[in-house]
């Protein structure tokens, strides 16, 4: 299962990459720190899952979410953010995100989702 990480904090990105690498069947295929870079690379790499942060160096996760909602080959989007407020959740879920977790306190939940996804094998759609 190919995972793409959109995260502007270098240290967190490295940690996440390390943590995710420890999961069975998960492969981190790329990362980006800005919205534009993320959209471009996701288009190129066609990951199964995108770990999406909200605050980026340039733009927001929302900009990325809007652009990667493709009719085919749509990745599972897991929003992992330090802005875990209901208003963000509603907005992102409405815009097509599949999961929404608090980056600090709900990492385990996010990892559980990834584990589940990996166990289910190749994905052909959300939910």
């Amino acid at each position: 299962m190919n995972v793409f990480i959109v995260e502007n904090s270098v240290s967190l990105r490295e940690r996440l990459t390390m943590i995710l690498a420890g999961l069975k069947g998960v492969r981190v295929i790329g990362h980006a720190a800005t919205a534009a870079e993320a959209v471009q690379k996701i288009g190129q790499t066609a990951p199964d899952v995108v770990i999406l942060d909200i605050r980026l160096d340039e733009g927001t996760g929302f900009d990325v979410l809007e652009k990667i909602k493709l009719p085919h080959n749509r990745p599972v989007v897991v929003v992992l953010t330090n802005y875990p407020y209901p208003q963000y959740r509603a907005r992102y879920m409405r815009a097509g995100a599949d999961f929404f977790f608090d980056k600090s306190t709900e990492l385990d939940s996010a990892l559980d989702v990834l584990k589940n996804l990996g166990e289910r094998g190749p994905l052909d759609g959300a939910n």
Partner: protein, 584 residues
């Protein structure tokens, strides 16, 4: 009255001629009888031709005028005419020619002795053969004392009218003096005393202009002495009338200051005189002197009483005129003051206008400095907001991310710990909890500084979040109504509305004791309107002006900076409604 048809009523007019017609050939006896009647008449009967030459003179004429028939006949009738009466005769002739009757006219004649007498004359034309006037016949008699009194009465009436009719008392008194002459006196002089003690002669009337000049010379060259025991100055001083019925020559001799003076005094020929003071309101204003000379009239007690009545009327007229002129002067003074005052007013008006202009300039300066101040305040607020946003972001993102990283590390460490070391595991768990707590704290501090939502999700989301946070924190029920469509005010407007909303919520927790708050954000035309209504205790808006007004002022300022409005409606016991409208 019935009239017969076809017959005009004719009135026959008869002419009666009132003239005396001499008819020669009639009985001579009758003529002589007539002559005897004429001769024996008490009245003066004088005939004259058209050249004014005396043609007949009876005994009555001799008795009245002092001339014998021999002296008079052949002389001009003008020997009887006092000065200024010369034109009387032609006028009478003219009236007779017109057919008018000239009967009982009162006039003055002068006797052989130079005495002026008042007479009543009737004049009839004497006609010749063809009826043409060839002469006149005059019947004259001296006016009786009753008649004289009538004359005096009439004089008084006329004088009264004159005195009451005009405020120019000098001219009036001059006419009164003329009126008195010659009927009442041969001369009349009016003196007025000035406030400074000077005595001014304001009127002098004399039958004879030559005598008038003489009297004037006398007055000028020999002014009466101030301290004289009698005369004008004494009357002015005492306010009491003086009358001398018959002036003996010895008095003139005693009074004369020189031979020349005595000669003048004798020439003036004073026989009798009265000096009556002009007294009004207890003050001596002057005196009127009546002098008898040529007419040889001797003034009596009655004359004096008469003169005093006249004088009192004259004094009243003078007093009135003076009061009037004082009033007029006062009026003029008043008017002058009004003008002065008007000028002052105009000047002070101008000054006021200048002050107003000055104020206006100051006002403009104030306004411009106010708008500068407002701009500055607005800028300050923007800068502060910017600063808050920056700090919030740094706290939330930098510090927050760092804590997140720390948490990952600790979590990872915990995962690698031997599961058997319970103490270590529980310590790790406690640390994780503390890190989580710290993360929440950092998030709260950052959000309080400026919620990221306002920038990331917009105003509606920020208001919704704030309302939820408020409800959780305070337990007050909040109903939030947001616009169906997305509203995207610019950052400045969104910030202003959000901050006003926050402050309103703060006020609600502090003062209102509300249990329910309705929040409505909606777009009205081209404006965004925020309305927050609570069910709290409310307040009297007037009372709040001074108390919490700084907060309200601040909110108002926020609205006005963006051309919007801010309004607080409240009533004790009826809750409060805060409305903010900001044009988009």
């Amino acid at each position: 009255m019935k009239t017969r048809k076809g017959q005009k009523r004719r009135v026959k007019q008869r002419r009666f001629k009132g003239s005396m017609t001499l008819r020669p050939g009639r009985a001579e006896a009758g003529k002589r009888r007539l002559a005897a009647i004429v001769e024996s008449s008490e009245d003066a009967i004088i005939g004259q031709d058209l050249n004014a030459m005396i043609t007949s003179w009876n005994g009555g004429a001799e008795r009245l005028y002092g001339y014998s028939a021999e002296e008079a006949i052949g002389k001009s009738i003008s020997i009887l005419m006092p000065p200024r009466h010369e034109d009387e005769l032609p006028k009478i002739l003219e009236r007779l020619t017109r057919g008018e009757r000239v009967e009982r006219i009162e006039t003055v004649r002068v006797t052989k002795q130079g005495r002026h007498i008042q007479v009543e004359v009737s004049v009839s034309p004497v006609k010749g053969e063809g009826g043409a006037i060839i002469g006149v016949s005059t019947i004259a008699r001296e006016i009786s004392p009753r008649k004289a009194a009538e004359f005096d009465q009439r004089f008084l009436l006329e004088a009264n009218e004159l005195l009451a009719g005009s405020l120019d008392y000098r001219a009036t008194l001059e006419r009164v003096a003329q009126l008195a002459v010659p009927g009442f006196a041969d001369w009349c002089v009016v003196h007025i005393a000035g406030a400074d003690g000077t005595v001014e002669q304001i009127a002098l009337a004399h039958e004879d202009p030559a005598k008038m000049q003489l009297a004037f010379t006398l007055q000028t060259n020999y002014p009466p002495r101030k301290d004289a025991p009698s005369g004008l100055n004494n009357v002015l001083r005492t306010g009491k009338s003086e009358m001398v019925s018959d002036l003996p020559d010895q008095v003139l001799v005693d009074a004369a200051q020189s031979e020349e003076h005595l000669r003048l005094l004798r020439e003036v020929g004073i026989k009798s005189y009265m000096i009556v003071p002009l007294v009004a309101r207890g003050r001596s204003l002057g005196a009127i002197s009546f002098v008898s000379g040529e007419s040889a009239r001797r003034f009596t007690r009655e004359d004096l009483e008469f003169a005093e009545i006249l004088a009192s009327r004259a004094a009243l007229a003078i007093d009135n005129a003076r009061l009037y002129s004082e009033a007029q002067a006062f009026n003029e003074e008043l008017e002058r003051r009004v003008i002065d005052r008007t000028i002052e007013l105009v000047a002070s008006n101008r000054q006021l206008a200048e002050q107003i202009e000055e104020r206006r300039r100051e006002q403009l300066q104030l306004e411009s400095s106010y708008s500068l101040l407002r701009e500055l305040a607005s800028r300050l607020q923007a800068v502060r907001e910017e600063e808050r946003a920056r700090i919030a972001r740094e706290l939330h993102d930098e510090l927050g991310q760092a804590l997140t990283g720390l948490r990952y590390d600790l979590s990872s460490l915990g995962n690698h710990m031997p599961k058997t070391n319970k103490s270590l595991l529980s310590q790790t768990k406690a640390m994780l909890d503390r890190i989580d707590e710290t993360i929440r704290l950092v998030r709260r501090i950052a959000t309080e500084l400026r919620p990221g939502m306002l920038d990331d999700l917009g105003l509606a989301a920020a208001i919704e979040w704030q309302a939820q946070e408020f409800a959780q924190r305070t337990g007050i029920e909040l109903n939030v109504s947001l616009p169906n469509q997305e509203v995207n005010p610019d950052r400045e407007r969104a910030t202003a509305i959000f901050r006003v909303f926050q402050e309103t919520l703060t006020n609600i927790t502090r003062h209102s004791r509300a249990t329910q708050v309705d929040v409505q954000l909606e777009q009205v035309d081209d404006s965004l309107r925020l309305r927050v209504r609570d069910n709290g205790v409310g307040f009297e808006p007037a009372r709040v002006q001074d108390k919490h007004s700084l907060g309200l002022l601040g909110m108002q300022e926020r609205a006005e900076i963006m051309g919007g409005s801010f309004q607080v409606e409240s009533e004790v016991g009826k809750g409060t409604i805060v409305t903010m409208v900001v044009p988009l």
